[in-house]
Symmetry: C2
Subunit: 116 residues, 2 copies
DNA sequence: GGCGATCGTTTCGTTGGCGGATCGAGGCTA
DNA sequence: TAGCCTCGATCCGCCAACGAAACGATCGCC
């Protein structure tokens, strides 16, 4: 359990993790795409386009496009809502889980290398 | 001083800070632009285009473009290197410092709200 | 002084994200 | 069943970022 992460410390962790991500070979996602990923994987289901648009304060087409990109990477999948066929629910994928797990470990490593 | 920030915890902090940033009214910087900002402000001077290109593993034109964008926001300034007129050094600005300070506090807040 | 190397920038064509408007599919109510 | 609403997707023109190549300016060296 972290204890009062300071702003400066947070920035330094952010720098290391982000730099690693930029340097790396992984796909480079926009801030919105990344925010969408994190929202889908870390907040309670279900996730719809309109819900995400409201949650991220972004237009619906922007969400559709982000999903296009992420599903083409197989980081997320569309699943029609059987209860309301107008809606589309987002499903997590193994590949997306792996991507986020790796990213999370990168953050943890950055934090750890700052200790002591 | 943080103590063993877990991957999951790190992701959750990342989600909250990034979502806040996406929702907010600030300029949305690309991952590269943000990485450039953090490198300039958090690592030792001086910073040159080629140095940043190597550090971020990115092409020089990409760095030039990122600097164009950031200097137009007055987050960074170009200063000719008097010792080697071919080089350009990057200077920090007040506005950039404020931007990063706010962002750092957003991270700190996200971390704090996870405690306990 | 001449010449190759190195600096950051510019140009070029391409790709991809953007908001706003609009669409067709589907749901809801009477 | 008719009319209206809401859903996500698509179309449109625009703008920003991309890599590769070429450029002018400047340096280091002989």
């Amino acid at each position: 359990m972290p204890k009062t992460l300071t702003a400066h410390h947070g920035l330094e962790i952010w720098r290391r993790a982000l730099t690693g991500s930029v340097r790396g070979e992984g796909p480079d996602l926009t801030a919105r795409q990344m925010a969408l990923m994190l929202t889908v994987y870390l907040t309670p289901q279900p996730h719809t386009v309109r819900g995400l648009a409201a949650s991220l304060n972004v237009s619906k087409p922007a969400i559709t496009r982000a999903i296009d990109r992420l599903s083409q990477l197989d980081y997320v999948r569309r699943k029609p809502d059987e209860a309301d066929r107008r809606s589309v629910l987002l499903q997590r994928t193994v590949r997306g889980s792996v991507f986020l797990r790796d990213f999370g470990e990168q953050i943890a490593r950055a934090a750890k290398s700052l200790e002591g």
